[in-house]
Amino acid sequence: MSAPVMDPRIALPFPEAALPILQNSQLRKNVAHATDVIQAKRNRLVQEKADWQELRNSAAAIRAHVLANLAGYLEEFEVRCTAAGGVVHWAADADEARKIILGILRDEKADEVIKIKTMTSAEIQLNPALEAAGIRATETDLAELILQLGEDEGSHIVVPALHVNRKQVREIFAQRMGLPQLSDDPEALTAAARSYLRKKFLSVPTAICGANFLIAETGSVVIVESEGNGRMCLTLPRTLIALAGIEKVLPKFGDLEVLLQVLARSATGERMNPYTSLWSGVTPGDGPQRFHIVLLDNGRSDILARKVERQTLQCIRCAACMNTCPVYRQTGGHAYGSPYAGPIGAILTPQLEHMQHAQSLPYASSLCAACYEVCPVKINIPEVLIDLRAQVIDQEREQTARWSDPMYLGMKVANLAFASSPRFRLAQRLGRIGASFFTDRDGWIRHLPGLGGRWTLSRDLRGMPRQTFREWWAVREKAQSKEAR
């Protein structure tokens, strides 16, 4: 299979991108199994927390407070981080962020970097830019390494290779690491990755990481991870570059008490993630001696300015919404055509694209609200999806081609019909006549033309009944009033 397209500017619309995946039963099995496992762990650990809803409320309140006071906290972070010896850069968009990072690497005369899994790096398409500049990037997260070696793309925010099973991992490692005898035993696979990566950790002097949180009060950066690869990248190299969205800041060190509890439980179903690294700027003689942080806007300020959509930025990237999503369960992440998949991707991606791309994503949801129920920072994803749909329709209203979209036309006609009951009754009568042409003798419709054919793809439709409810009621009323007389 060719590598999936994860750039929203050129990806296919969601319904089309989903088609080949729906045919890929192995991938779907992998996704369903992996999400079931994570969800079961998550549910168990949430249930043991009697104060889970209070924790959620606190986490949501902290994140909402940050967003309401973002500029102040960012400035505070900049001051503290700079005072601690870090260099703070501001990037308005992806292009600027790439230029800043390439500039730093040029100054470092780096021709190779090691990386910790960072969604923001995928968001700004950093790896292709590094490659074009002749800089070799090695992903050190096990899942990211599998994807990099397999020339594949991530399909999940926390477990990017969730769609790959261990037999497939064995194939990739055996081929790309030159280990034909490798078994698919998990220990053997991780040992192979460890020995492959250890050389990189010890020899490459420049690392790139993301950030789970930034602490305004102390100027610290926080990274949580499970494998220790992050700890290696954060301590061994000479130069460290962090890339973080501007929304990642927290007011105080103490806020981690709440957020780390909800993050680990929601993300991996653990009470505490195995590795939590925190550092502030540079410590002489200990760890990287040059530290840069690039604070990325890339559309976030616009999201911040919108009343309903603002909550999108509360996200702490735990992916609980993806694990519970019945749509994601069927399609995995690649159908979303963006590093951010699942329910959070469906609201975040089109907004990061200023609603100029990925307009099919707000519709990639049945609005079942399972995502909202599990979100540890209480992002009302269905509410944002609906608001984004309204933005998409408002764009369509401006286009002359709108009348050739049968869905648009149908919605406008339905609106006319719903505006008064005589019109609605007329529409019901016309509908009954129209439907009769497609109704089989047994009273069921098996094939409909046009958009209706999307329904009859997998579902029959009972033909229109001879009498609507209102007709029945009217007859009954008449009979009753006659009786009364």
């Binding site: 369960r329 997998s458 409810f469």
Partner: protein
């Protein structure tokens, strides 16, 4: 005597009048005096959830104007009630005036989904129903996570004489209907449907019931296509069924 106004909803009116008739039989049997405003059409859910906000607003406004003076409104469709509870306030905030917002705020506590109306307003669980069949309950997402109906439907179904309730695995997972999602993303919707049908068939039930004919139209349409013997039935029809007037005779 309790008086209530039946908001039947556009699709029940047009496609599932038997649900409306059952709701009338049921509610009158438990002593409710019902009326039906012939001016009613749609709650606006389809438009709102597809992004047609202005259109949804006009329908929401009609709903409030039509029902602002009634004692209470009963709606045999959980997703339409969720539309009113979750989305009207936002629509009126953005597009409406102060007067409309006030009228809506006063009306909202008097709007009930059918099972809520029975258990919360009428305080009745045994409605005198008889339905000697094996039945599984599908928890429509809007009832489950929108209205938080919780155990209400089970409490009502549990009191039906002759019924055998079969538990459904993955009860909280969406069936894949999702309104226009079933059209726009027909293939993904079908994949979700397949998974749900697998769970439904495993119950070995004769009937699948729910608070919402929209999911049932999707599930029932697929069951009919596959001829797998399971049928759909709105909860109002089970609760309306009695030994004197059994479901089969009234459909």
């Amino acid at each position: 005597m309790m008086r209530a106004s039946l908001f039947i909803t556009c699709y029940n009116d047009t496609l599932f009048p038997e649900t409306g008739r059952a709701a009338v039989r049921l509610l009158e049997r438990v002593g409710v005096e019902l009326d039906f405003h012939a001016e009613q059409t749609c709650c606006g859910q389809m438009h709102a959830n597809t992004g047609f906000r202005g259109e949804a607003y006009s329908q929401a406004k009609r709903f409030v104007q039509l029902y602002r003076d009634v004692e209470c409104v009963v709606i045999p469709s959980s997703s339409c009630v969720a539309m009113i509870r979750d989305q009207y306030a936002g629509l009126f905030e953005e597009l409406g005036n102060e007067e409309l917002r006030k009228q809506f705020a006063a009306l909202l506590p008097r709007v009930f989904e059918l099972s809520e109306f029975l258990t919360d307003k009428l305080k009745v669980e045994d409605v005198g129903a008889w339905f000697p069949h094996r039945v599984t309950y599908h928890a429509s997402c809007h009832g489950l996570r929108g209205l938080h109906v919780g155990e209400r439907p089970f409490r009502l179904l549990g009191k039906v004489r002759g019924i055998e309730l079969a538990p459904l695995a993955n009860l909280d997972r969406c069936c894949g209907f999702g309104g226009t999602f079933s059209i726009k993303n027909a293939e993904v919707s079908t994949a979700m449907l397949d998974a749900k049908l697998g769970d439904l068939l495993a119950t070995k039930a004769e009937y699948c019931t729910a608070l919402d004919n929209s999911c049932l139209m999707h599930l029932g349409g697929a069951m009919h296509r596959r001829k797998d013997g399971l049928q759909t039935i709105h909860i109002a029809e089970i609760l309306a069924s009695t030994e004197q007037h059994p479901y089969e005779a009234t459909r």
